[in-house]
């Protein structure tokens, strides 16, 4: 009976979503405040019912209700409790329900965060989000009901072992929060098109939502990369798999959108471009969902799937994104620019940022979708290899990183190139010397790519630090706003990421060797000795555990215990690598297979500066958090207007 309540709650949520999609939008055009007033209660009610349905599904998992098909296929009574909870999103139906829960959470947040905005505008935003909700709820109920029953299952089939990992508890929800969060700027953009008006206030309202979605997307992607890195033990963290691209493409677009919004908020230009980016970001999120869920692309992430689902999402994509693009075609011309700018100005740098990010997006999208086109027209199967993506990502990203350092320090409207260069010129030799010397000293080797990568990364780090540091040293200077701190922090994160990614891909080492107890193997000066091998019983798996002593120059660094697990229910094998890491290097070992005669295949890895990649992502996300919580987004518009007239100039006019 209880699971049926969940399904019933979803139907009620759909009814409320229909109300939320129809009446507030109609009311905003008909001038009916009573219709518009329905937006918030409908959004709140929809959230309550979706959350209730989600709770019911989680309850079914926690109580091992194997009469529910989805629970029976993805859980097991011996599964640890935390994983039972994470198993809710361990399969298609549940992860779609999570998608929906995240969407209604965003809708609720927007409904209550927009109370100070004009009623007709906020009604349109909430109405557009309602339309998206209707689509996703229909999709859930029609093609992927998580509450379907099966008779007579006594035990579940267990959660996919690859997903039984602590980071799987945080990775999907964070990623979804970011992914689905792109619906918010999309709704803002469509609302602006519907009104045929887009002013600086619009950008000021849309920007914090976009930044929060972006920072969650950043964190979610980083968690995913981190999970892949240590869960699979193959030492990689990014392989341009179609599903990785599915999350990375919206990230690129949202990054472009944040920068374009900065120009729109500040200068009242780039308006139709901003709107187009918002539409593109959400379209790519939906496309990503389609790619992941239709099984149309082959990837390590592909789970069993069903073509009708793919068709449904494609239809949804057509209606939602197609509708928005038609609206854009009709209305974009009514969004007029409020000023111009010179060649050397903050605006130009942000424009370059946008162009380069869009180029990267297009090239990666091309590589991701090309196999589909080929298959459709030529009936041969083809895939695009990793080196293509590495190269086409680098081509736009290197100039982007180089320009980023200048752009941060450029003034709005116009600036002399000489003044800009005079300020930053001396950082170039520092970056160059570090780029040449550091790899040689630390790793005893170098290459053109290393010098270029480290140089660019250090350049971004230095240009991000110079302003905050010089302000801190000079007590008389104007303090940076929190948004400015955020900008410098996020860019510092980019620099750290570039340095980490360059060094780790340039100097990593990997060895696969057969080892017996008592034998040693060496990698990059680290010596691994296999002391013991034993069998261990886990809650739902049996593991072979190796005990390794890690030594450097004869001194003990760590004792590592990698496992080779066999999960009993699915009889699936999973490798658990053991990692010893510090800021400058990770060394890790994983067990391969029993080769017979007491010998095991063992994989050794040396990953220098990989942690800079994770730290870089964390710093980027933290910068986003600072920027999104800037004062100007927190104080209501009325008080702003007051303080503006009191000071006599727009608030926040500093060195930015």
């Amino acid at each position: 009976m209880i699971p049926e309540l969940g399904q019933f709650a979803l139907v009620l949520a759909l009814c409320l979503a229909l109300v939320q999609a129809a009446l507030p939008l109609a009311g905003s055009f008909a001038g009916r405040p009573d219709w518009m007033a329905l937006a918030r209660p409908a959004a709140a009610g929809q959230f309550v019912f979706v959350a209730f349905a989600y709770g019911i599904l989680a309850y079914a998992f926690l109580t091992d209700d194997f009469t529910v098909l989805f629970v029976a296929s993805n859980s097991h009574s011996a599964l640890p409790t935390a994983y039972k909870f994470a198993a809710v999103w361990g399969g298609h139906e549940g992860s779609l329900l999570l998608w929906m829960l995240v969407l209604s959470t965003w809708t609720l947040a927007v409904a209550f965060g927009s109370r100070n905005q004009p009623a007709d505008f906020s009604s349109r935003v909430i109405g557009v989000l309602g339309i998206v909700s209707v689509g996703i709820l229909l999709f859930t109920l029609v093609t992927s009901n998580p509450f379907d029953r099966i008779p007579g299952a006594i035990e579940g089939r267990d959660l996919n072992p690859a997903l039984q990992d602590p980071s799987m508890v945080v990775h999907p929800p964070t990623l979804y929060l970011g992914y689905v969060g792109t619906a918010v700027p999309f709704a803002f953009a469509v609302a602006a098109l519907l009104a045929g008006r887009l002013d600086k206030d619009w950008a000021r309202w849309a920007r914090p939502w976009t930044i929060v979605a972006w920072l969650l997307l950043t964190a979610g992607i980083a968690f995913g990369a981190w999970w892949a890195y240590y869960e699979f033990g193959w030492g990689g963290w990014w392989v341009w798999d179609p599903v990785e691209n599915a999350s990375f493409l919206p990230w690129l677009m949202t990054t472009a959108l944040i920068h374009s919004l900065a120009v729109t908020e500040r200068r009242g230009i780039f308006k139709s471009w901003t709107v187009l980016l918002a539409i593109a970001a959400f379209t790519l999120s939906l496309l990503g969902t389609f790619l992941v869920r239709s099984g149309i692309l082959d990837s390590v992430h592909s789970f069993a799937s069903d073509p009708t689902r793919g068709l449904f999402i494609l239809g949804l994509l057509g209606v939602i994104s197609g509708g928005a693009l038609v609206l854009y075609a009709v209305r974009a011309s009514s969004l007029e620019a409020e000023g111009g700018f010179r060649l050397v100005s903050r605006e130009s740098f942000l424009l370059a940022n946008n162009i380069l990010l869009v180029i990267a997006t297009i090239l990666i999208l091309l590589g991701t979708l090309y196999p589909l086109f080929i298959e459709a027209f030529r009936a041969t199967d083809v895939s695009v290899g990793e080196p293509y993506f590495n190269l086409v990502f680098l081509i736009p990203m290197l100039p982007l990183a180089a320009l980023l350092g200048l752009g941060m320090h450029a003034a709005w409207q116009k600036m002399s190139m000489g003044a800009l260069l005079a300020r930053l010129r001396w950082l170039v030799p520092i970056a160059l010397i570090l780029a040449i010397v550091y790899p040689l000293v630390a790793y005893g080797a170098t290459s053109v790519m290393t010098v270029v990568g480290v140089g660019t990364g250090v350049w971004v780090v230095l240009t991000s630090l110079i302003e905050p540091v010089s302000r801190m040293l000079d007590s008389r200077s104007v303090r940076l706003t929190r948004a400015q701190w955020g900008m410098f922090a996020a860019h510092l994160g980019v620099g750290l990421f570039i340095v980490g990614a360059t060094v780790t891909s340039g100097f990593d080492a990997e060895r696969e060797v057969p080892m017996r107890i008592g034998e040693s193997a060496e990698i990059e000066g680290y010596e691994f000795e296999l002391l013991d091998l034993r069998t261990i019983e886990g809650p739902n798996f049996t593991a072979e555990e190796g005990e390794f002593e890690l030594r450097r120059d004869g001194e003990l660094v760590a004792t590592l215990r990698p496992q080779d697990r066999v999960y009993r229910v699915r009889t699936a094998q999973m490798t658990e690598a053991a990692i010893d890491g510090n800021l400058f290097r990770d060394v890790f070992v994983s067990l391969g297979a029993d080769l017979g005669a007491g010998s095991w295949s063992v994989k050794l890895h040396y990953k220098p500066m990989i942690r800079f990649v994770w730290i870089g992502c964390a710093v980027m996300a933290f910068g986003g958090l600072l920027a999104a919580t800037d004062r100007r987004y927190r104080e209501p518009a009325r008080e702003r207007a007051k303080s503006r007239s009191a000071v006599g100039k727009p608030a926040g006019q500093g060195a930015r």
Partner: protein, 146 residues
């Protein structure tokens, strides 16, 4: 220099940069296309000799062999019609097993053995790559005809 000249030079540099980049991107694209072949196509000699490609199929039951203490493994890959011997000297993925569907990346050696530098098995045992599913069905059809 006049503003107009400056602008022309700027546009010229950007255009040249884009053309060069487009050239690189195009080359990288062509070099990194990995075509998919079935064991039957390989047996018929349709697969390329030097270029890397993808080979997919079912690991034949009982065909897996590895000398004691050695890393190099050999197994037969089938599409239900023809078999190809695959050699791999790295650690195989967790989900690799006889009777499982895999996709291997690698090149053909002169002796007709496919040397895989990467073997992919999937996360989910229910999942089968569409291209492999098609080739298995096609192989079964041809085997039935004979």
């Amino acid at each position: 220099m006049k503003r107009r000249h400056q602008r022309m030079i700027f546009i010229g540099i950007v255009t040249a940069g884009m053309l060069v980049s487009a050239g690189f991107a195009y080359r990288a694209f062509n070099e990194n296309l990995l075509y998919y072949y079935t064991p039957t196509q390989v047996a018929d000699g349709e697969a390329p000799i030097e270029r890397k490609f993808r080979l997919g199929g079912l690991v034949v039951e009982g065909s897996f062999e590895r000398a004691e203490g050695s890393m190099t493994a050999r197994f037969e890959l089938t599409d239900n019609y023809r078999d190809v011997t695959v050699e791999h000297s790295k650690i195989l993925p967790d989900l690799f097993a006889e009777g499982q569907v895999i996709v291997a990346h690698g090149t053909m050696r002169d002796d007709g053995i496919f040397v895989a530098d990467e073997v992919l098995a999937k996360h989910d045992e229910n999942y089968m790559p569409t291209e492999v599913a098609e080739s298995l069905a096609e192989g079964a059809r041809r085997a039935a005809q004979e």
